[in-house]
Subunit: 342 residues, 2 copies
DNA sequence: TTGAAAGCGCTAACAA
DNA sequence: TTGTTAGCGCTTTCAA
C-alpha cells in the first residue's frame, strides 16, 4: 500500500497498472493524449494506492508552481481581509493557491521578495509596503509578474491596480462641503503609503478650490488602524484641547470608526450634530448600526479581477508589460455621518 | 547576467566562482562544511548574478517544502483573522510560509486536502470544516502532521488544539445567572461545528443545574456570522414576536454584535437593561465603545503556539502521535453587557 | 574541505 | 496512442 517513507510515486502506479510511468503522468494531465480505457485503468490503480501527483516535482520541469505570493500588510484593516478572501477564492477556482507573506507595516518588501523568489511562484501580488525598482526588475528578469494592489511606485515599471484614491478624496470633500463643513481634520495612515497620500491630496485639492488651504486642515496620524486613530483623536481633542472641527475624514473606515468611538465614548460628542464623519473603503462594519458611516466604496471584487488580469497567469511565457496602471473609481455611499441637504 | 528563460542556477554561480556546483549548494546550506573563504567567493558570485536558490528543486531531495497548509473557513469572523495573522508571523519567523486553502463553510475538507497533498506541505492546519478519518490517515501515511484548530473529530487520530469551549459556555451561563437572568436565547453557529455545539452544551449544562432545561433555551441559527445573527434576531423577536429573554449568548462575539445591533437599531432595546449579552472569542471589536461586550476570551496566541508545537516541524521524521487533544481554558472578560452584582 | 555522480518525481521531446 | 529517454535544479553520498 505504500513505499518507504510513505511515498507513492507515479512509478508505483505504473507498475500496478502495467503501463509506463509517462502514461501515468498523462493520465493526470488534462488534455494529453491517452486512451480513455488506459486512463481509467491508471486512475483505478492510483486510487488503490492513494496516489496523489507531486506538483513540486512537476513544477521543476513545467516551470509553473501554481502558487502566487501575496504580500500582506495590514490585516487589521478589514478591507484587506476582504481582498485576501477574494484573492483566495478567485485563484483557488483556477487551481492556484496563495502563499502568504507579511511585511511589517510601512516597511520595505525587499527582504520578503527575496524569500518569495525562492518559492518560484507564478506571480506576486503586493498589498503592502514599498518595493525597490531593483526588486521589480529581478522578478521581471525571472518572468514573474508583479502587481501592486492599491499602491504604486513612482518611476517603477511594476504594474498595479488601485482605486482612484485622489478622486475619492475629492468626492468626500465635496460631500462635506455640501453639508456645510468649513473646518476639517484628517486621520492619516502610513505617511509613506501612496494610498493615504493620494486620498488626502484629492481631499485637500477640493477644499483649496473653496479657498481652504491645506495648512488649515488638521492632520492626525492614525497609523491606518482603529487604535491609532482612537488614540490620536483623544490626544488632539481631549488632551491638547484642540477645537473639534466641523468634519473629520478618516483615510480609511476603520480609523474613522476609531475616532468616532473616541469622541462619543470619551467626550460625549454626537455625530453628525457636533461633528461630521467621512470614511474610505466601505467595509462591512461601516454599514452597521453604531456607525452608519458615509464613505467611499472601493470596488474590491473589481480590483481583484483587474489584478488577476494583470497577472495574466494563463500566459506564462508572455512578455511582461511594464507600468500598466489601472485606476477604478470609488463611489460615495451616503449614510448617516454626514447630513443630507434638505 | 542571465540565462535562457531568465533562470540563474547554481551551475551558473559555480562557473563564475570557479567551483563545483555542490560547493554552491553548500554555501547556501547553513551548517554544511565549506571554508569561509570559498563561501564568501560563492556568495559574491551569487550576488553578482542575482542568484536565489530554488527551494522547489531542493525540496525534491530534502522532502521539505517549508510550506504549511492552512485550511481556512470563516474569515468573516475576526477571530480567525487574528489566528491567521499569528500563524503567518510565527511560521514566517522560522522560515516557513503558509499556503492558504478555503473550504465552503461547514463543508468537508476532503477535496481541499487532496489538493493540499499535491503541494507536499510539511504540515496541515485545519481551522475549518470536517475531515474524514480516511484523509487523516492519508496524511499520516505520508508523514504529514495534521492539527485541528478549535475543532475535533470524534474517533479520529488527528491531533488538535482548542479552547475549552464547554468550560467557556459554563462560565458564561454562570455570569448570566449571577446577574439574575432566568430566560435565555443562544445564537448558534454551524450546527455541524463542534465549537458551537460544545459552547452551547456547556452553557446548557450549567443552566440545567439551576433547573432550566435545554428545551427552554431559545436556539437561533446565526451561521457564525454577523449578518446571520442580525437576521435571525430580527426574525425571532420582531417578525415572530417571540418574547425577548433576559439574556442572549452569542456563540461568538461577531454574532452577539449582530444581535445587539439588530435589537438596538431596529427595536429600541437597551443593553443590558432590557436584555443582557454574552459573547465568545474576545475579538478586538468586542472591547469597542458601541459594544463593550462581556465575553469569554480565547487565548489565540497560546493556541497558535500549541498548534505549532503539535506540528513539530523541527522533527520531520518523527512518528506522528495520534489523537493528542490540547484544551486551553478561556477566561471571562467582564464588560458592560452583563451588570455586575452590587 | 572539495568534486563527481547519482538521484528526488515529474514532464516533454522523440520514436515507434 | 504509447514507451523510452533526457533533463528540471537541487542535495547527498562517496572518494579523493
Amino acid at each position: 500500500m505504500k513505499n518507504i517513507g510513505g511515498r507513492v510515486t507515479s512509478l508505483d502506479v505504473a507498475a500496478l497498472a502495467g503501463v509506463s510511468q509517462s502514461a501515468v503522468s498523462r493520465a493526470f494531465t488534462p488534455g494529453s493524449s491517452i486512451s480513455p480505457a488506459k486512463r481509467e485503468l491508471i486512475l483505478a490503480a492510483a486510487r488503490k494506492l492513494n496516489y496523489v501527483p507531486n506538483s513540486i516535482a512537476s513544477s521543476l520541469t513545467t516551470r509553473r508552481t501554481n502558487m502566487v505570493a501575496v504580500i500582506l500588510g495590514n490585516l487589521d484593516n478589514p478591507f484587506y481581509v476582504l481582498v485576501l478572501k477574494s484573492l483566495i477564492e478567485a485563484l483557488q477556482a483556477r487551481g492556484t493557491q496563495i502563499l502568504t507573506f507579511t511585511v511589517p507595516n510601512g516597511g520595505s518588501s525587499d527582504n520578503a521578495l527575496m524569500r518569495v523568489l525562492r518559492y518560484q511562484v507564478d506571480g506576486i501580488i503586493l498589498t503592502s509596503a514599498q518595493l525597490s525598482t531593483r526588486m521589480t526588475s529581478m522578478c521581471h528578469d525571472r518572468g514573474i509578474p508583479v502587481v501592486l494592489f492599491n499602491r504604486y511606485i513612482p518611476g517603477s515599471d511594476a504594474s498595479g491596480v488601485r482605486c482612484d484614491n485622489a478622486g475619492g478624496g475629492r468626492l468626500m470633500a465635496e460631500a462635506l462641503l455640501l453639508a456645510g463643513a468649513r473646518s476639517f481634520a484628517v486621520l492619516k495612515g502610513d505617511p509613506k503609503g501612496t494610498t493615504s497620500q493620494d486620498r488626502l491630496q484629492g481631499f485637500a485639492e477640493r477644499l483649496l478650490e473653496e479657498g481652504i488651504p491645506r495648512s488649515r486642515i488638521l492632520e492626525l496620524e492614525g497609523q491606518s488602524v482603529y487604535d491609532g486613530a482612537h488614540a490620536a483623536t483623544l490626544q488632539a481633542f481631549r488632551d491638547e484641547k484642540k477645537p473639534i472641527p466641523d468634519a473629520i475624514f478618516g483615510i480609511n473606515d476603520t480609523m474613522a470608526m476609531g475616532a468616532m468611538d473616541a469622541l462619543r465614548g470619551h467626550m460625549g460628542v454626537t455625530i453628525p450634530q457636533d461633528v461630521m464623519f467621512g470614511g474610505f473603503d466601505n467595509i462591512d462594519e461601516a454599514d452597521r448600526w453604531p456607525y452608519r458611516l458615509t464613505t467611499i466604496s472601493q470596488p474590491a471584487r473589481e480590483m481583484v479581477d483587474e489584478t488577476l488580469k494583470l497577472l495574466d497567469l494563463d500566459n506564462p511565457g508572455a512578455e511582461i508589460e511594464p507600468g500598466i496602471d489601472i485606476k477604478v473609481p470609488g463611489k460615495l455611499i451616503w449614510r448617516d455621518t454626514i447630513p443630507r441637504q434638505a
